[in-house]
Every structure is written in structure tokens, then in C-alpha cells.
């Protein structure tokens, strides 16, 4: 694994759209202390008898991009999925500790996971568009949450979401064609658009580019960069360069434990833990 560099080089043929260098140099963090979007307090998670997360405590800042890195099976995806209670679907799971989103513990009594997921959107590792038209894919969540009063409001939401996901120009003439006819990268951007359409406060992304080619990956990363000021974004990635390129904060997970959580720049240039240094320099993992 090469030393991570916050620059992306590509030798692919020039696409129709000029490629800008993916990410400008690391963005300066705001000088004031950012608000906390997700406050995690001694969170442990179990699949049956097997403990997958150990006593995680962290404050994820609002309107910034936080990246989770770590080797496969280190618990980063599990942790991400606790944030919209997606693990509830898996039988035999148990959780202890607190996970506070917007001032309330989402595992506390009286919290409806269905309502929570409207606030905390999610994009999956493998793009999962519904076998419906492009339009219907976006409209699905909008209808579900009654966010459009009539047909024209719906059209506006669909256009706005597709524009936010940088997909509008490519699909505006075939909104009623099947979403499955899109390329892999387009499908993933559609899934992002679908998640944005219900206007979540937080967007969780579980290795959103791991199944994509470099060009499509680059577009997703550009998109994350554009979305960062509007949403709190949490992204799981096993690609360290990607974490370096897109995130403001980085957390390293190791065997279900949070090893280090700090500004991305610090994690990649001057980590506190030896383990972090070994991992980001590619000495193992």
C-alpha cells in the first residue's frame, strides 16, 4: 500500500466532462468548535454472544465529513449501522451504551426506528436501486414521508435531488426508464439522490464507492465534497486515500475498538497511536 497522498492521479481516457483534481487541499476546519451531531457514549454491540463493538465513545461533528477506516471485520460498518438502527433488522443483536442524535438517545424508550431513519439517511456498499423507474426511485421515499403535496412539487423534489447528486444532466431525458439500466456509478448516485430526497440531517455511507471504477469513484467523492456543508456525513471506507481525500475527521477501528479519532490531517500526518501510524502507512492491514 503506497503512502497516502491527498491527490488522485488517473490515466483513464478523458471523459466528456473535464476532470478536476478530486479534492482540493484539506479544508481548514472552522475555528469555532463544531456542534456535535452524533454523541456516542460507551457503546457496545453484540451479535448473539460475539461482541462486535467495545465501549465506543466519540463525538461526531455536525456538517463535517467523518470517515471510519480499519481492516475488514473491525466493526466500522456495524458501528455505522447502529446510527440508523439498521442492525435492528438482524436477529439476535444487542446494544449497550448511548447513541445521542439530535439531543436524544436513539436506543432510548419510545424511539421509532422508522422515524429515525427519515432523519438519518443511508447509502449502501452495493448500489441498490429499486427495480422501478429513475423517477419512482426518488419518489418512493418522498411519498413515504409525504414531502411533496402534488405532482409538480414531486417533479421539483426529483429534479433537485438528482441535481444534488450530480446525476440530473445524465438522466433528465429518461426519468421514466428503469433505474437498473444505469451504469454502476450512476446507480450509486441515484441511491444518494434517493437518500437526499427525504432531506435527512445525517447521511451515512457504507463504502459507497467500493464497487465502482476510479472515474465513478471520483464523481462520488466530488459529490461528498459538495454535500459536506449541507449534511453531516459519516463514511465507511477501507480505502485510506479516500478517507484522506474526502473527510475532515477520521476514526480508526481495530477489532471492534476505536483506536484513534481526530482530524484527518492529524491522523494521516501525525497520529498519536502507534497502531494508527502503522495502519495509515500501510505497514499492515
Amino acid at each position: 500500500m503506497p503512502t497516502p497522498m491527498p491527490v488522485m492521479t488517473t490515466t483513464a481516457p478523458a471523459p466528456s466532462r473535464p476532470l478536476t483534481t478530486v479534492v482540493p487541499p484539506a479544508r481548514a476546519l472552522p475555528t469555532e468548535v463544531p456542534q456535535t451531531a452524533i454523541d456516542v457514549d460507551r457503546l457496545s454491540f453484540f451479535y448473539g454472544q460475539k461482541q462486535a463493538l467495545f465501549d465506543i465513545t466519540a463525538k461526531l461533528p455536525a456538517k463535517l465529513v467523518t470517515a471510519f477506516i480499519g481492516p475488514s471485520g473491525c466493526g466500522k460498518s456495524t458501528f455505522l449501522r447502529t446510527m440508523n438502527r439498521m442492525n435492528d433488522v438482524v436477529p439476535g443483536t444487542r446494544i449497550t451504551g448511548k447513541l445521542i442524535v439530535d439531543g436524544r438517545d436513539i436506543y432510548g424508550p419510545g424511539v421509532d426506528p422508522v422515524a429515525l431513519r427519515r432523519e438519518v439517511g443511508m447509502v449502501f456498499q452495493k448500489s441498490n436501486p429499486f427495480p422501478k423507474s429513475i423517477f419512482e426511485n426518488i419518489a418512493y421515499g418522498v411519498r413515504l414521508n409525504r414531502l411533496a403535496a402534488d405532482r409538480s412539487a414531486m417533479n421539483d423534489v426529483v429534479e433537485e435531488s438528482l441535481r444534488s447528486a450530480a446525476l440530473w444532466d445524465e438522466v433528465k431525458d429518461r426519468l421514466h426508464d428503469s433505474a437498473l439500466a444505469l451504469s454502476g456509478g450512476q446507480q450509486q448516485r441515484l441511491c444518494i439522490a434517493r437518500a437526499l430526497a427525504i432531506k435527512p440531517k445525517i447521511l451515512l455511507m457504507d463504502e459507497p464507492a467500493s464497487a465502482l471504477d476510479p472515474i465513478a469513484t471520483q464523481r462520488i467523492e466530488e459529490l461528498i465534497y459538495e454535500l459536506r456543508s449541507k449534511f453531516t456525513i459519516v463514511i465507511v471506507t477501507h480505502n485510506m486515500q479516500q478517507a484522506a481525500r474526502v473527510s475532515d475527521m477520521t476514526a480508526l477501528f481495530w477489532l471492534g475498538k476505536l483506536v484513534e479519532f481526530d482530524r484527518t490531517e492529524k491522523i494521516f500526518t501525525n497520529p498519536a497511536a502507534k497502531l494508527t501510524e502503522d495502519y495509515v502507512t500501510g505497514r499492515f492491514g
Partner: protein, 283 residues
């Protein structure tokens, strides 16, 4: 002979054996089609579709009542077997580890293996005896009972093939579990389920035994659900065991119509499935 040559020989023999088995498996179908078509077309004419059976000794007549009867019996059967089958298939797929699902899966497999004559006798007991009357409804119930396990298991298998990621996608947008199943998972499996349903229809359309004690037969045109009703299979059976040459020819024609019906069901299933899949995938 060296080792490699022996291996190549073995491979060749296996390939030939497989090819031969396929041929042997196809022979019965080829013969059935050949005989049914060559014998059936002789008695097949417009009257066959429009006229009622002629009295013994009188030439001509047709199977109009039996064709209508078969369509009606299959319709009644499907009307209750498809919803029950699909919904119980959804239950088994959604809650696979529950006791009820395990029982239902086992029950469906058992029911699938129950001889059709036994189903006929059972329905005779519950839907004919109490009313002292053979009826189209009783026949439809018997066919429906044969259909339920096929539809249930097909639905379950096809739902299991839908990637869990699709369901999670819907849940992540704030859908409840039931809504996600109805609006995303079930539609994704729909092309396959439709194929399964149509094939099940074809299967029950060819049943004779469950109808003998339930729908019985009717020499006249009837569309009343509470009256005995004719069916292609029972009519073919009655005509085939008769001593009359003319009736034998008509039995062949009836068999041809039945086989065509089943065949067109299969073709329809393929066509509908492909059409729906194309709509979904855009290819």
C-alpha cells in the same frame, strides 16, 4: 494408453451419456405431442368448440361445455389459491425461523405430495356431501387445494432470491417492514411469481381425479357455480373409455385442446415474465 487419453475418454463418455439421457427424457413428450396432434386434428373442427356433446349414435357435436367448464374450474381454484398461496409464501419468507413458518413449509410440501384423488375425496366430504350436490365450486376448491402449495413454495423461493439490500434500501428511507415487503420486495419477485402461478394453473387444468367426486360432469352447458360442471379432462376420460369410435376421435381432439391450453399457459408465462423483467431492468 496414457493417463491423459483415459481422462479424455472418460469425459467423452460422460458427455455422450448426458446427451443420451436428454434424448430419452424428450422421447415421451415427442410421442405424446405426435399422437395427440395427429389423432386430435382429425376430429377438430369449429363445431368442436361451439357445440354441445351429441347423443350417442348421432355424429358430430362438440366439447363447448367442457372448455367453458375447465376455464371456470381453474378460475375458481385460482381465485382463492393465488391470494392464499402468495400471502402465506410471503409469511414463510418473512419469518422463516418461526414455528408457524416451519410448520407451513412442511405442510405445503406434504400437501403437494397428497395424491389428487385423495384431495377429491376430501373435498367430496366437505363441499359435496353437506349440500348433497356436485358443483363447480367443489371442483374449484379441489383444484385450488392442489394449487396452494405450489404457489406458496414458489413465492417463498422467489422472495428469498430478492437481495436483502433492496429491503434495506427501503427501510433506510423510512419504510416499515410490511411496506418495504409490499412495495419493493414483492414487486421485485413478481415476474417469477407470475411464472409460478401460470405454471400451477397449467398443472391443475390437467387434473382429472379431484374433479370426479366434486365437479362431476355435465352434458349441458352450465356456468352455474352450484351445479355440476363439465371439464375437458373428465370429458376426455368419459369419451375415451366409451365403446364408440366417434367418441374416441373426439377424446383425442379434447386431449389436443387440453395440451394446447397447457402449452399456451407456459408460453404466456414466459412472455409475461420477460416483458415484466424488461420493464424492470430496461434491457
Amino acid at each position: 494408453m496414457n493417463h491423459d487419453a483415459i481422462r479424455r475418454w472418460k469425459s467423452t463418455i460422460v458427455v455422450w451419456l448426458c446427451g443420451l439421457s436428454v434424448l430419452v427424457a424428450l422421447v415421451p413428450l415427442a410421442f405424446i405431442l405426435f399422437f395427440v396432434v395427429s389423432q386430435g386434428v382429425q376430429a377438430l373442427n369449429w363445431d368442436f368448440f361451439t357445440k354441445l356433446p351429441a347423443p350417442v349414435g348421432e355424429p358430430g357435436g362438440g366439447f363447448a361445455n367442457a372448455i367453458v367448464g375447465t376455464l371456470m374450474l381453474v378460475g375458481i381454484g385460482a381465485a382463492f389459491a393465488v391470494p392464499i398461496g402468495v400471502i402465506s409464501g410471503v409469511y414463510i419468507a418473512e419469518f422463516p425461523a418461526t414455528k408457524l413458518a416451519t410448520m407451513a413449509r412442511f405442510a405445503a410440501d406434504t400437501l403437494n405430495g397428497v395424491p389428487s384423488i385423495v384431495v377429491g375425496v376430501f373435498v367430496y366430504g366437505i363441499a359435496v356431501m353437506p349440500f348433497q350436490q356436485f358443483s363447480a365450486i367443489a371442483g374449484g376448491i379441489a383444484l385450488g387445494i392442489m394449487m396452494i402449495p405450489i404457489v406458496t413454495r414458489t413465492t417463498e423461493e422467489l422472495l428469498k432470491l430478492v437481495p436483502p439490500a433492496l429491503r434495506e434500501g427501503a427501510l433506510a428511507l423510512g419504510a416499515t417492514r410490511g411496506w418495504a415487503t409490499m412495495t419493493v420486495v414483492l414487486p421485485a419477485a413478481a415476474p417469477g411469481i407470475i411464472t409460478g402461478v401460470v405454471l400451477a394453473l397449467a398443472r391443475i387444468a390437467g387434473e382429472t381425479a379431484p374433479l370426479l367426486f366434486t365437479a362431476f360432469n355435465n352434458r349441458f352447458m352450465s356456468v352455474s357455480p352450484t351445479q355440476p360442471i363439465a371439464s375437458l379432462t373428465v370429458q376426455v376420460y368419459t369419451y375415451a373409455i366409451s365403446p364408440y369410435e366417434d367418441w374416441h376421435r373426439q377424446a383425442w381432439a379434447g386431449a389436443l385442446v387440453l395440451v394446447s391450453l397447457v402449452l399456451s399457459c407456459s408460453l404466456l408465462a414466459r412472455f409475461a415474465t420477460r416483458r415484466l423483467e424488461r420493464l424492470q431492468t430496461g434491457h
